[in-house]
Amino acid sequence: MQIKAGTKLHSAVCDTDVMVIKGSGDVALTCGGRDMVTARSTAVGEPDAAFAGGTAMGKRYQNADGSVELLCIKPGKGTLAIDGVPLEVKAAKALPSSD
């Protein structure tokens, strides 16, 4: 599917919603083993057992080379993956609060 920064995507099999923070172009993005969708419909079925690690609210997920980064804006039971490779949680930055 085509993505760009700001695109909102929904899982087809769980409650997960993400927003694209970084990345563009055609990306084979899945959640729970199924292609993510741009328009939310009622989730049907269950995540594939191999992709059922779940997503956590507010965490950032990225691929190995960091070219795609997603923000989880609603958590669910599925695992995010690109080309079948699960995305990893990006470590939190430790910036002091300035406001």
């Binding site: 609210m57 910036l95 406001d99």
Partner: protein
């Protein structure tokens, strides 16, 4: 994307956690979210193009910000210290507008100027009962989320535009979601019409750090709220910190700042003696000096707590001087120093600070100031040292050109401020037949202290050089600052004409 995402995520995660405390009354994330959805429905129904807020910070200002975003209308808060005619001219520029105003401001709004005019309390009453259970905010990253009128030195105020992608870029780039512990609280004493007031709301709600509002700053109130609300974080402008320290010194009190962990300051140049005094007075507090502009959605560079403590009293002068810097650019922001022709300069070379990044809007209504590569010239003068620390030297437009030589007022002010009798000082350029422009210093002496003009001139001559010596020195009772602690240099010039 839409800035209301920040509130929606917080309300989805911990709806019952306290988001906001105002005059001792608590509001949860769930309550604020429900009220913002109710506000959005009313704003859409009203057929207005803008949402404006004329008043002190209150729960209504927070709900109006998010309600406007959910309705897809720019939130354009107004400075409540402007005169009624000035305010009414701005309201006209926002027509048709949904205006929420402090009760005492409502009668000052010209009849018919606002399509909807409500007091803050009436607005709260309308939206507190809730409205729609769900709301689909328009996902318009190019949409203007916040429009701030900047105080122009001449003419009518300019309208700085901050789009959803700028503000969200700032928050997502600098804050980790729900990273605050439940006992954390931040004291917000900047007004809602200032960029620091906007970023405080967005950052705190995304971090899920409780906001404690202080609508009218005074040192005693600030210290009182810190104690009563067990405040852990705060942001102040330089004058506020000076006044807090003076208040502690004058009353000889030992304020209860036991809960305070982090104090950030920005919005203007913090005098070095104030920073040093604060570091000594509050040894347990982590200090952060933030540099940012309205047009950059707040902070772009930060001198963090470790940098402060390391530089404080360091034997190496190149490290010690970092206490006078604004630290390093944020990881999501690029900074470049350029000369007058736009050519990038190397370390320690003084030029114009230019910035680029997702949070940089650099845009006014009808006028975009970024170049084709996205760089925004800030009109601030400064340099980067070899380790990437950014030092500022005032506004480029304040530079004094004396006989072809560029002189930054800041370098001379810094030396004069070192004199034990000097409380405050401003150096400006005044017309001179001989030099084109020459230096004039307006000096405020400490209570009971005195110093001669010659002594001050000698000090500058010894520490800098003769071309930096102010030709005119005038002693005055106080310098003119605006309510955010910004020195009004044009008013200082009036002392010398």
């Amino acid at each position: 994307m839409n800035i209301s995402l920040v509130l929606q995520m917080a309300a989805d995660t911990f709806p019952d956690r306290v988001a906001l405390t105002h005059k001792g009354v608590h509001f949860t994330y769930g309550q604020i979210h429900a009220a913002a959805m109710a506000a959005a429905a009313r704003i859409v129904d009203s057929g207005t193009d803008y949402v404006s807020y004329l008043g002190e910070s209150s729960p209504a200002s927070v709900i109006a910000l998010f309600g406007a975003a959910m309705a897809g209308r720019p939130f354009a808060p107004l400075n409540y210290r402007l005169t009624a005619p000035e305010t009414n001219r701005l309201i006209e520029r926002l027509a048709p507008v949904y205006l929420i105003a402090d009760a005492d401001k409502v009668p000052t709004v010209a009849g018919g100027a606002a399509r909807v005019l409500l007091s803050g309390d009436d607005f709260l009453g309308l939206v507190a009962g809730g409205g729609p259970e769900e709301w689909d905010a328009p996902q318009d990253e190019e949409g203007v989320a916040v429009q701030l009128f900047t105080s122009g030195t001449t003419g009518e105020p300019k309208a700085a535009l901050l789009r959803n992608q700028n503000l969200l870029g700032y928050v997502l780039g600098t804050v980790e979601f729900a990273s605050a512990q439940e006992d954390e609280a931040t004291l917000v004493s900047v007004p809602p019409y200032h960029i620091a007031g906007i970023s405080a709301i967005l950052s705190s709600i995304y971090a899920m750090r409780r906001i404690v509002q202080l609508p009218q700053f005074s040192p005693a109130e600030w210290l009182g709220q810190c104690s009563a609300q067990q405040v852990t974080n705060a942001f102040v402008v330089p004058t506020m910190l000076s006044r807090i320290i003076d208040h502690i010194d004058e009353t000889g009190g030992h304020p209860d700042l036991g809960a305070l962990r982090a104090l950030a300051f920005g919005g203007g140049k913090m005098p070095l003696p104030v920073v040093e005094r604060a570091l000594t007075l509050f040894p347990h507090v982590a200090f952060a000096n933030a540099y940012g502009l309205t047009e950059t959605s707040s902070t772009i560079a930060l001198l963090g707590p470790d940098d402060h403590r390391e530089a404080h009293g360091h034997p190496d002068p190149l490290i010690a001087r970092r206490l006078d810097s604004v630290g390093k650019p944020l990881p999501t922001v690029e900074v470049e120093i350029r000369d007058e022709d736009g050519k990038p300069l190397g370390p320690d070379q003084m030029g114009e600070v230019c910035v680029r990044g997702p949070q940089v809007s650099g845009e006014y209504q009808g006028r975009k100031l970024t170049d084709e590569d996205g760089w925004f010239p800030t009109r601030d003068a400064g340099f980067l040292d070899k380790d990437g620390f950014l030092f500022l030297a005032g506004r480029i437009d304040d530079v004094i050109v004396r006989g072809g030589e560029n002189i930054s007022p800041g370098e001379v002010e810094k030396i004069l401020r070192e004199h034990a009798a000097v409380q405050d000082v401003a150096v400006i350029g005044v017309p001179s037949v001989e030099w084109g422009e020459t230096l004039a210093a307006a000096v405020v002496c400490k209570l009971g202290a005195a110093v001669s003009v010659d002594e001050l001139k000698d000090l500058v001559r010894r520490k800098l050089r003769s071309s930096r010596v102010p030709e005119h020195v005038r002693f005055i009772d106080a310098l003119p600052y605006n309510e955010m602690g910004k020195l009004l240099r044009r008013n200082v010039k009036a002392f010398f004409t």
